[in-house]
Subunit: 309 residues, 4 copies
């Protein structure tokens, strides 16, 4: 396995068929860095425009539409001691008549992110919430590939190609699978959060720059029934599928449908078996309900899977 | 504390202002039984019509609109060795064009529910899923109070009064709070599931009859800012709020709004403090996305709450 | 044909199995009155509690579940010269972040309703909108039958039984069809608006009391394929179907599905023929997007229907 | 006024910052052609790939972000005698459990489009619907500008930039206003339908190639309160605003919010006056509920507008 070190100098705010910055072969490793959502790097300096600027795209050698891109997330490590978040719940997250109770503010909360104690706390105590701290659980807010047909999709949103899913489960230890939609796949990554509540209800996690380590893989000759339609994830203990859409209902439909496909394709389950398994054993996570497309995640513990497979 | 034993002979399929079957005082305990969603009791005999027939209503002595009804769930214990579920995902749970892949069937799966090993498994192995079993984690599919203004709301659905929320978190150890909407509150309970996947995507959990033990409480003289608008729950480790509506977005808005109210009223947090707390530390559970109203649950771990309160 | 005159003394705020106030035979006419949404009558006096109090229920002789109740609306005529509306768009009708721009007010607009000129105008000119008047096009905000299974559904909302649909098309000249869900059908009517914009975006039309004239009919022995599932309407020129739900998408799905059923059952069209007809010739009206359930209406001009039928 | 004649040789399937094919000055006219959604021209020959290939983009001389692009649609005229549509309602348009009743087919209906009689009828009679014909009312399924920030958005969907709105109101006689989001605005146009039902429920209108005539205008120095946020339209008798999103509720919120902005900015109305006007006098049209983003249109008759302005 070759491990590549890549230091980005340009960033993209769309998932599109931009020039590859580096070619990776299947099983190659990658060490690189990401700037925060506002375009600031490990020194806190703005090196590019704000709006989820991403590192990449990385061209996957030999990838063709119909293949599956595998991305193993080995490490996501904040590389500076401070992050920021918004101070206000987004209007869309509360009852319409409760919006009047919310503050109309762009105020930011700065956070001390301590990688030794693995905790983050507001730099300036919040009145009434003194002592509040959260565990640092770094996640990739954005990861995905270039969409098909010449589209360039904003890194503010998400779709079948992945994107700004803001799901806490995209962290070290997870293996993701994306559909290859253009030759070379073109992998983008960025928008790291040191921590985040489910749903990203203030429109931000604790936004931070990071060092990341990935390993890529390519699955070719994929049978139609094994094709990845919506992004898939896997850890030692769970399978998950990510649907991106509005309303949440549609996002959940995408995720559930993808889980059924996965169980049928890879595990050979009948519709009935897949239905019973999902019906009595699955769980759902909320990725985000802030971005233009929301994200719902269908999660299934591996202990429930057919043992013989 | 008085513990009442109540053996139901009638059941209701609406949450409404029906005659109370028993009057409970605040801090009273209640031992009773529930039939399954199809109206069958611990002997498997149909004793009432199907459609989530509920036990109750229990009249809470002195309860008036504006008060809070507290229900501590002490025990939910299936009282027979077999349950049933549907064999098919509901059409609303998958992508519209994937409905054609689903079976159009009313077939039932029967389950062996073993309270010794605390596991449930299909009575007849499902091909491809031999050996499949799930832990028994009994939950109350339906619990709630009579709605205001003479309404009688089907036990198929849910609302501010609670109802058929089908949330796995409503189980032994949880303390629930409901708004009192009519004099006497009128508590109903039933529709126990021995286990269920999140979302109740086949329209059923493992439906079963049960023995249950509750303790009720009444909070009077509630300040306006402490009023329960949507049902609330609490365990040793978490607070949660339940929103019921379609689409899931609106259910989540109700749940989030109720959590903000709770944090402001009981913990005295400012909007900013509540926003930061929810934004970086909350989680969401999916109750159901099958019933006429869906259920989303906002969950907050108590370890994040202000320590001085 | 017998025409009954009924002067109400009691009103209901739920569609439920209340005692019938009068029995009507198929083809009977009915002259009665309705109070406004706030419970005020033709003298402007509050004769009952606010919240869409309705006149009825009228028992339809011989009606049984599975039958179809036909209601011909002969006349809806405001019986006093003043109505009222809200002065504010409801928060749910605008973008969440635009709610801050809206006024948080309960202010009412009073309207002069002139049945001679058939126009309504604000009693006190609205600054910037001097001279504003709208045609009086009286409509029934609420009409429907008792729901099944002992439910009593608030007159604030709607469903398969009809209810508070707030659709401008429910006016003199229309013939409505409802499913009979309980013995006797139990018809309720009220909540007249002298005029209303589509969607009822301020949560009110021009609310007023009225004299109304209806004719009822009963269709028995209905074939399964001709059963009314969602309320249907018909005028000299159009057929329409009304779906009630949230989000609007689901309401539209109900309406479209009901139109397909109608075209298949009554006109014998194949799925393909119904699809082509709806796809290239139907229209949609927005009933309301304010009430707990929204209303979308699928409208088809009769000139497109098969001529031989 | 200069009228340009442009014969396209290339087409685009994204709204993006592609090279301008022709520069137009404010008040210039444009005569051009569009191919149908499948890439076929006036001879029925496939000259480009299917998927709503569009003519353009036309660069508007001097247009800068913050300006308003005005497009007057002078003429939309099918330029061949045949069109096509789908034979099947899309699954998303009916109740989830009714999808099983729909045909799973890609069958096409061919249409004779007669510009003399101004009618379209299926080339081969549809059984049970013999004699069915619809008036030819040609409309532009797609029209819009390049989005900001380097995005390239598929011509299958829509947004603030316009796009595939599939609204029947975009036809000869309408004047549209779009936000200029990139220098030169970059206007795209195509996907003409000879006719279409509201909602485009089969996923197609009567798809056809066309000759079109437009006139463009540019409004510069636009005050912030007059900025176009969502596309606006105007005819001799109405104003309308188009919101694009899912669910329909959000699309309607966009449209309503834009109408409020318009009434406040151009007509100087207070929030109260705009609320009363919209609440009692507006109408809503359904653009489409098939594409990835749905379209709802808020329509206001000009006769209700303040007379002095």
């Amino acid at each position: 396995m070759t491990v590549h070190r890549f230091d980005p100098t340009t960033y993209h705010r769309t998932f599109g068929s931009h020039d590859g910055v580096l070619t990776l072969a299947s099983r190659d490793g990658l060490l690189t860095t990401t700037v925060d959502a506002s375009g600031r790097d490990e020194r806190g300096e703005r090196v590019t425009d704000p709006g989820n600027p991403l590192t990449g795209p990385f061209l996957i050698d030999g990838a063709e539409p119909g293949d599956t891109l595998v991305v193993r997330v080995r490490s996501v490590r904040p590389n500076r001691p401070t992050g920021f978040s918004s101070a206000a719940l987004a209007p869309v997250t509360v009852d319409p008549a409760y919006v009047w109770e919310l503050e109309r503010t762009d105020r930011r909360i700065d956070w001390q992110v301590d990688m030794h104690s693995c905790t983050a706390r507001p730099s300036k105590p919040i009145i009434g919430l003194e002592g509040f701290q959260v565990p640092v659980e770094p996640m990739l807010g954005c990861i995905g590939v270039a969409p098909e047909a010449g589209q360039a999709i904003s890194t503010a949103t998400s779709g079948r190609h992945g994107g700004n899913m803001d799901y806490r489960g995209i962290r070290a230890g997870v293996t993701l699978r994306f559909p290859v939609l253009v030759p070379g796949a073109l992998l983008f990554v960025g928008d790291v959060h040191a921590a985040q509540g489910a749903g990203e209800l203030t429109g931000t996690g604790i936004e931070i720059s990071a060092d990341i380590e990935l390993e890529v893989g390519l699955e070719r000759g994929v049978r139609p029934e094994d094709r990845v339609v919506w992004p898939r994830g896997e850890t030692d203990t769970v399978l998950f599928t990510m649907g991106n859409a509005r309303p949440l209902d549609q996002a959940a439909q995408h995720a559930t449908t993808e889980m059924v496909r996965w169980l049928r394709g890879r595990y050979g389950l009948s519709i009935e078996a897949a239905s019973v398994l999902i019906g009595q054993a699955c769980d759902y996570d909320l990725g985000n309900m802030f971005d233009p497309a929301y994200t719902m995640v269908c999660v299934l513990e591996k202990r429930y899977l057919p043992t013989a497979t």
